[in-house]
């Protein structure tokens, strides 16, 4: 019978693989457009000059980033080139310190430390502004990154990774940009508690 013949299944294996691979490539071409800076889901790097929020959108039925008025980091707006340079440096910091092996980014990484997708929007920074003696959230984050063991959040402390001020500023810029990405609603109702009914 046909289905007892290995050649029948070999033909099936080849055709299935080819079809699925072609579909994947087509979807990849489309997705790369959406996730490039300025695409449908990922704002340009200059979004770090703006106020960012995360709120429920009735039209889409999920949480969405909201890009608001001008609110540059440290009060100084940056142009496209400088924004890209900050983001590039921030990513180098994240990789050189292997942040993804303690933290998660969009839920990917390690689970020992908090997810950083919306870290820029975390309400805890309000307290850290006072604790670090900073004038702004970005300054508090910068001081924290430079001395995380000194400004420990709880018993599981982040170690000091020798992050310089420049590197810390770049990382803060990176986290601000990261929080503006439309992640299809992850994490759900960030910063809002849902009562279990």
């Amino acid at each position: 019978m046909q289905y007892e013949d290995p050649n029948f299944w070999r033909a099936g294996a080849v055709s299935t693989t080819v079809v699925m691979a072609v579909v994947l490539i087509m979807l990849t071409i489309d997705s790369l457009g959406a996730i490039s800076p300025g695409g449908s889901h990922v704002p340009p790097y200059t979004v770090i000059n703006r106020h960012i929020e995360y709120a429920y959108d009735n039209k889409f039925g999920r949480d969405m980033p909201v890009i608001g008025k001008d609110e540059p980091l440290f009060g100084t707006p940056v142009n496209e080139t400088d924004a890209a340079a900050l983001i590039a440096r921030g990513k180098l910091v994240i990789q050189s310190r292997a942040c993804i092996d303690c933290h998660t980014f969009m839920g990917n990484g390690a689970y020992y430390a908090p997810d950083l997708t919306k870290a820029w929007l975390d309400p805890a920074w309000e307290a850290w502004i006072a604790i670090t003696g900073a004038e702004s959230k970005e300054e508090a984050m910068t001081r924290f990154l430079m001395k995380p063991d000194y400004y420990a959040t709880w018993q599981r402390k982040m170690p000091n990774l020798g992050i310089s001020r420049d590197e810390a500023v770049a990382t803060v810029a990176y986290l601000k940009w990261l929080s503006s990405i439309d992640t299809n609603g992850f994490p759900i109702h960030f910063g809002r508690i849902q009562v279990n009914k």
Binding site: P6, A34, L92, S96, A98, D101, Y111, D115, K157
Partner: protein
């Protein structure tokens, strides 16, 4: 014994050694959850974790290579082309892994420069090794591919199994190139990174272990080539048919368009179906031979492979794969539970089976049995299932309290981590990790001692009356 088989033994031995490094670093990683002050300022969690997950990849890769080098001369009835290069590269590969481990331990990180990426740390999960080492790994894999494909070309003929393996080598090697680039945009970085990780462990690795298990089953149970090849093609069709677009289950939340929720969820939900087929096949093979074999540990580890793959990847994966549920479970210990079970079932059990197959021939053993392998089998599988169960409890608590209720802030994260069920899970996980470690030691002892004390009994025919 052929040069290829001698090389195979070296690779399998190195695999078992790095399995040990993985186990110890895993034990250490688990300990941090219980005592966060442990080695603070000396060895941070991320380094222990890097050692744990990177040696996992390395020991499994080395195990696959050992298995392939073992069966290559049998499949092609000749010494593989370029075996001399593979022999040299083995020592370089093993030495490089040790050097990288030392760099991770003693250097750990560097400033935010390209130099750090080239020399010390690339900081992308599973592929943290510095670029110079990644180049080495790529070279080793290229030579590995050449050994297989080159031999097929030289021999002028190829079996179905080796044809599948040869074709599979191409994406296997090419995908590794994704370990190299520095991509500023995290969404794009993760997009391509998942091509490497998913299309390795849920596609090309599945095909590779499928080929290896086909060769193992032919050896263990004397099953005909025609049967295993037909089955292999079915497996390829179903695994790649569901797994290639099942890649989409990693594209729910990384900034990609929302059509991935439907595509990824749908194909990913189909992924357990071929795994159930493999379970049926394993039961059939076990029964048709009445559980009789000359190599009991190899046979039982092969069964563990089929069942572990189904449970770890199929059952545990299905719990968290639909996007509506993954939204809560994503990035929690629930993921860890699934990952440990899936890797163990899908790959580790298979590699251990190959170790026993190779040793039976190497030490010229008529039968392989005894209490030693049973201890290792029970302790390793029991320890693993215990860890996975503990992580499931912790993961459920974390998903419930941190994500579903808490809103995933720092405060919610801490609340989740301090939840009594989570803490209970962490303590239990550590306990079962100790059990697993003892099982590993029992495995090493058994592999070293196998057949050393066996006496050969000569059966004399009765004298004629």
């Amino acid at each position: 014994m052929s040069r290829s088989k001698n090389l195979a033994i070296k690779y399998l031995a190195a695999a078992i050694l790095f399995f040990g490094v993985m186990t110890l670093s895993g034990l250490l990683s688990a300990a941090y959850y219980i005592n966060p002050q442990l080695l603070f300022g000396v060895l941070p969690f991320n380094i222990a974790k890097i050692l744990h997950i990177d040696t996992m990849i390395i020991w499994l890769l080395m195990g696959f290579m050992g298995a392939v080098y073992w069966f290559l001369p049998e499949e092609f009835e000749r010494e593989p082309v370029g075996i001399w290069a593979a022999e040299i590269l083995f020592w370089i590969f093993a030495a490089a892994v040790l050097v990288v481990a030392a760099i991770f331990l003693f250097v750990q990180w560097g400033p935010a420069t390209q130099t750090t990426l080239w020399l010390f740390q690339q900081g992308r999960k599973y592929v943290e090794a510095p670029r110079w080492a990644a180049i080495g790994v790529a070279l080793v894999m290229l030579v590995f591919a050449w050994n297989v494909i080159g031999t097929a070309i030289k021999a002028g003929r190829i079996t179905g199994i080796m044809a599948v393996m040869s074709v599979n080598m191409v994406p296997l090697v090419l995908l590794y190139l994704i370990a190299f680039p520095l991509i500023d945009n995290m969404a794009v970085d993760l997009y391509w990174w998942w091509w490497l990780v998913h299309l390795w462990v849920e596609a090309t690795w599945e095909i590779l272990i499928g080929c290896i298990m086909a060769l193992a089953v032919m050896k263990l149970l004397d099953t005909s080539r025609r049967i295993v090849e037909g089955w292999l093609y079915i497996e390829v069709a179903l695994v790649l048919g569901t797994g290639i677009l099942g890649l989409g289950h990693h594209y729910f939340w990384i900034g990609t368009p929302d059509y991935w929720l439907g595509i990824g969820g749908f194909f990913s939900a189909l992924e357990p179906l071929p795994l159930l087929g493999m379970v049926v096949h394993a039961i059939y093979d076990a029964g048709v031979h009445h559980m009789k074999t000359t190599n009991r540990p190899a046979f039982y580890w092969t069964l563990a492979e089929a069942f572990g793959n189904f449970l770890g990847a199929g059952v545990f994966g299905f719990m968290i794969t639909l996007p509506q549920l993954n939204l809560f479970a994503h990035g929690t210990q629930w993921t860890v539970s699934h990952g440990h079970f899936a890797f163990w079932g899908a790959y580790a059990c298979g590699v251990i089976s190959i170790c026993y197959i190779a040793l039976q021939e190497r030490r010229r053993l008529v039968t392989v049995n005894g209490a030693g392998w049973v201890w290792a089998f029970v302790l390793l599988n029991g320890g693993l299932i215990g860890m996975v169960g503990a992580l499931l409890v912790a993961g459920m608590a974390q998903a419930f309290f941190e994500r579903a209720i808490g809103g995933s802030t720092l405060e919610a994260f801490i609340a989740g981590q301090e939840n009594p069920w989570f803490v209970l899970g962490m303590y239990n996980r550590f306990g079962f990790a100790v059990m697993f470690t003892v099982g590993y030691l029992a495995l090493v002892w058994n592999l070293l001692a196998l057949g050393r004390r066996e006496t050969t009994v000569l059966i004399q025919p009765a004298p004629a009356e």
